[in-house]
Symmetry: C2
Subunit: 125 residues, 2 copies
């Protein structure tokens, strides 16, 4: 499928992931064509990990997979919006529901959310 | 302010913009440090236009500015989430409330939103 313009930006486009029920923005990750095609095919979010340079099947390790409810594409066809059900309730590897758990306030970052799990217990490293 | 890690990715980070009231994801754009600092300082969304290679004060031409209600930063400090009030109701230059007005369905893109304005009328070019 060529629904997304991966070439324009060298093969990777940003994918925003949103909770389909609450509308909370959970995270931003990256997709190449392979990750996008797998996500469409399987109905589970699969990204491209830039740091590890390989496909990142979200939740493969933690069990916190993302079941895809809807995939939207923006006007320029270079950004993907996944609307998902986040299994386990936490998208962030630090144990928060959303990776966006800090707010800019008076030139500082203030944590505005509660941790749902202790990363050390989930990622036994 | 050094709340965001602009260096990691060569000076630009993605900024996701969400309607603060409805939770609708409106668009994704890019920010460099100057755009971010201006956004924080003025309370109006300012991005970096990659195509024009200059600051993009959203709504400067159309009047459809974005009043910033909240700025969130992700766990890796390399993505920004703006929660805004979108003046004029439409964030997308094609006249839709959100740039994400197309859904992936059976390997096609289906338009799922109504146009709120005719771009030709707003951007008199």
């Amino acid at each position: 499928m060529n629904l997304v313009d991966f070439d324009k930006s060298g093969g990777l486009v940003p994918a925003v992931t949103q909770d389909a029920e609450t509308g909370q923005v959970l995270m931003l990750a990256w997709m190449n064509k392979e990750a996008f095609d797998e996500t469409v095919r399987t109905g589970r979010a699969c990204y491209w990990s830039r740091s590890r340079a390989k496909l990142w099947r979200k939740g493969e390790e933690s069990g916190h997979v993302q079941e895809v409810r809807e995939i939207l594409i923006d006007c320029d066809a270079d950004t993907i919006l996944l609307r998902v059900k986040q299994i386990g309730g936490a998208a962030c590897h630090e144990g928060y529901a959303s990776c966006f758990f800090r707010r800019v306030e008076n030139a500082k970052l203030i944590t505005i959310a509660e941790r749902l799990f202790d990363p050390k217990q989930v990622y036994k490293k």
